[in-house]
């Protein structure tokens, strides 16, 4: 079968999900041009209420979810963030606050700690304050972030710094490593930008060149060695220069569920970019039903939807064909091999695209905004 004909797979062969990405709100004081949220952001009035989120967490726990990532937007913009965190603790769910550290985050931190929060992941846009604030689009964000980080480690909460890497901050990779050590973080994510959503629109402003990418990888490898036992560094390399694609979200419908602010349940945060997929809402169905029966989750689950070269590839159960959204965006077919894979006939073109864009002067950022009517400057539907 080529077209994703959603046939409910028998429940017993579908492994239970391990992670729930709870996008509590799309509101955020930052305006990062690579935000993973969709171009069309949910408004506050459309957000799920507290009771629904508490029910969703209970269902997630029964379903086998172990980790809950409280995300957004900025999750602490929700008035009920403490109540939601406490519910995670009560259910034994591992709670991970993914935060910008600005706005009301610091104010709520102690209460979150008392409610049993397990872990904090703090985003840092840059090391140099002026650069960081240009990228995040918010003045005075950096000192707030530093204060927030200091309080996290003071409380004894494990801290991960997350740095999204692109051409505007790739020279700061050594600085991010020093900053992580200085702030007492246990983990650092050096995550090269993944070009979906806002990052896809801003790709030409963000894409580094191959030499810069290689250098950043080398720096991370060396630091890992030197900081063994002190700092764990996770490295996400950019698809466009990779040899094989990443298993998107650990494979479609295999590990992760993503609940949007208005309650739509997605196999990954960019899945809405694929037209004709039918997503179910937590307000209409239980999480368990959605996981096993919703058309969107079954569309690209497993391997039977694959075409060549994925279908007969030895790696098909390693990377699951890569990212469906990227396949659609670049190849025009969500069931195609992700062009990030060197086995894709489009891989060379994808790399050329990146190389060309990285060689040009970067255009200005198109900042993330709710209610904006941003048109993608990448006019062609599928540029390859």
């Amino acid at each position: 079968m080529n077209a994703p004909t959603p046939a409910p797979a028998p429940a017993e062969v579908i492994p239970a999900p391990v992670g729930l990405l709870a996008e509590l709100t799309h509101r955020c004081p930052l305006r990062c041009p690579y935000c993973s949220n969709p171009m069309e952001l949910d408004r506050r009035s459309a957000e799920l209420d507290t009771q629904t989120w508490l029910r969703v967490l209970t269902e997630a726990s029964k379903l086998g979810v172990l980790h809950v990532h409280l995300s957004g937007g900025e999750p602490t913009a929700r008035q009920d963030i403490v109540e939601i965190t406490a519910k995670c603790a009560e259910l034994g769910l591992y709670s991970n606050l993914i935060t910008s550290g600005v706005g009301g985050a610091l104010q709520k931190l102690d209460a979150l700690y008392d409610a049993g929060l397990d872990h904090v992941q703090l985003s840092v846009q840059g090391v140099d304050a002026a650069n960081a604030e240009k990228i995040g689009g918010l003045k005075n964000a950096q000192p707030q972030k530093m204060q927030f980080a200091a309080r996290v480690t003071e409380l004894g909460l494990p801290l991960t710094l997350n740095s999204v890497i692109h051409r505007g901050n790739i020279h700061e990779v050594p600085g991010f490593i020093d900053l992580a050590v200085k702030l007492g973080a246990k983990r650092l994510e050096v995550a090269h930008t993944q070009y979906y959503g806002w990052a896809y629109v801003n790709r030409a402003s963000l894409m580094p060149n191959k030499a810069q990418v290689d250098e950043s990888i080398r720096i991370v490898e060396r630091a890992r060695e030197q900081l063994k036992g002190e700092l764990v560094i996770d490295l996400v390399v950019p698809d466009y220069y990779a040899k094989y694609p990443k298993a998107c979200a650990g494979g479609w419908g295999r590990k992760l569920m993503n609940v949007t602010p208005q309650g739509k349940v997605l196999p990954c945060h960019a899945a809405e970019t694929i037209p004709d997929l039918e997503f179910w809402y937590v307000t209409d169905h239980s999480l368990g039903e959605i996981w096993t029966q919703s058309p969107a989750f079954n569309a690209y689950r497993g391997t039977s939807w694959m075409k060549e070269p994925c279908r007969s590839c030895d790696r098909r159960e390693k990377d699951w064909g890569g990212c469906r959204c990227q396949a659609l965006a670049l190849a025009g077919d969500a069931a195609a091999t992700d062009p990030a894979c060197s086995l894709s006939p489009l891989h060379g073109k994808m790399r050329d695209l990146a190389t060309e864009e990285a060689a040009e002067n970067p255009p200005d950022y198109i900042y993330r905004t709710i209610g904006s009517n941003v048109q993608s400057p990448l006019k062609e539907k599928a540029p390859l």
Binding site: A16, D118, L157, K186, R187, D234
Partner: protein, 358 residues
């Protein structure tokens, strides 16, 4: 010289390819460095830790120069097909990316016996004799014919024997050597025969006159001597009479523990008096849905085997490793000291992943 095998010199005739192969193999049987007294000591566990370190350090120079040597050979090949085959050797040693390849694995070995990576990379403490013989090898392949350059690589025919002797001998005889440390050799067990098969075929095909056959045999002899000489130098400096040249590595130099004994203490295995604890943000939990225990940590879930679960259930920030070993020894009627050592390693591994503290 009376040789027990036909040689082009003695017979003044062209050997058949099979005879040539036998003659080449005979060179290895009599001159390859597995016969050197230093290697006997190494494999039989008769060297002390510093002597093993000296070997690992010096041998690094040889490993690091192999791609330089192969690039020189490659530069002399006019046939793309030949180059495609030969360049694989460079890929094997250098890897496709940082952290990969034979040189990297050798660095791991050197680190495994206690060296700081930057010290090894500096090549500061390496014996001059090691450098001289390795560089002679690089010059040899540049200056001699391509046939001789390729023939000089044929020591690889003999290396699987020495590697299996080495791995089993070293694992058995040195408690500071682990299987991870010896990862280099595991790869070479498959790479070396593949490389040697190709080179041997080439030599058999291209040594088409008695003179060329003699050159090929001389090249292999030369290479055996390159390896042998390195062990002579090691033996002389670090075994007997123990004359370490000025500037060469002295025991104690370039080691991790010399620079940060405290960090080594934090990284090493947990000992009986250490009190392990799970920091905030790491939780042991029973997963009802999957029917097993899991260790939850930032962005990660660790699957645990029964032993790890038994240990982690007792990790409470109060019990010491000794206490835990004692309780488990009583439950499983096993030897407490063995359990303590096993636990120490397991806990150190989790500590390195930053999900356990002491």
């Amino acid at each position: 010289m009376t040789a027990p095998f036909p040689t082009p010199v003695a017979d003044q005739r062209l050997l058949t390819p099979e005879e040539l192969e036998a003659a080449l193999r005979d060179i290895g049987a009599r001159r390859y460095h597995n016969l050197h007294p230093f290697h006997r000591l190494l494999h039989d566990g008769k060297l002390n830790k510093d002597q093993v370190r000296a070997w690992a350090l010096n041998r690094y120079y040889y490993q690091a120069m192999i791609p330089v040597k192969d690039a020189a050979v490659l530069a002399r090949m006019h046939d793309a097909e030949l180059r495609r085959v030969w360049r694989q050797r460079i890929v094997d040693h250098d890897g496709d990316a940082p952290g990969d390849g034979g040189i990297e694995r050798w660095l791991k070995l050197a680190e495994g016996v206690g060296f700081r990576r930057d010290y090894v990379l500096s090549t500061d403490g390496i014996l001059s004799a090691t450098k001289f013989s390795v560089e002679a090898y690089v010059h040899f392949v540049k200056e001699k014919s391509l046939l001789e350059a390729i023939a000089s690589s044929l020591t690889e025919m003999f290396s699987p024997t020495i590697i299996s002797e080495r791995v089993s001998g070293m694992l058995k005889n040195y408690d500071f050597i682990t299987k991870d440390t010896l990862a280099y050799f595991e790869k070479r067990l498959t790479q070396a025969p593949r490389d040697a098969d190709f080179a041997l075929d080439y030599v058999k095909q291209h040594a088409t006159t008695p003179e060329l056959q003699r050159q090929a045999m001389a090249a292999l002899t030369f290479k055996c001597n390159v390896l042998w000489t390195q062990l002579d130098a090691l033996y002389f400096a670090y075994v007997a009479p123990g004359m370490v040249p000025p500037d060469a590595w002295q025991p104690g130099e370039g080691l991790v523990e010399a620079t940060s004994a405290a960090a080594e203490g934090k990284r090493g295995p947990f000992v009986g008096t250490d009190v392990p604890r799970l920091p905030r943000g790491v939780r042991l939990r029973f997963d009802d849905v999957r029917g097993k225990h899991v260790l939850l940590a930032p962005e990660r879930t660790f699957d645990l085997d029964d032993n790890a679960v038994a240990v982690l259930k007792l990790v409470d920030g109060k019990r010491s490793v000794g206490d835990i070993a004692g309780e488990l020894a009583a439950i499983y009627a096993a030897d407490r000291s063995v359990i303590e050592a096993d636990i120490g390693v397991m806990l150190a591994d989790l500590a390195q992943k930053r999900v356990l503290e002491r």
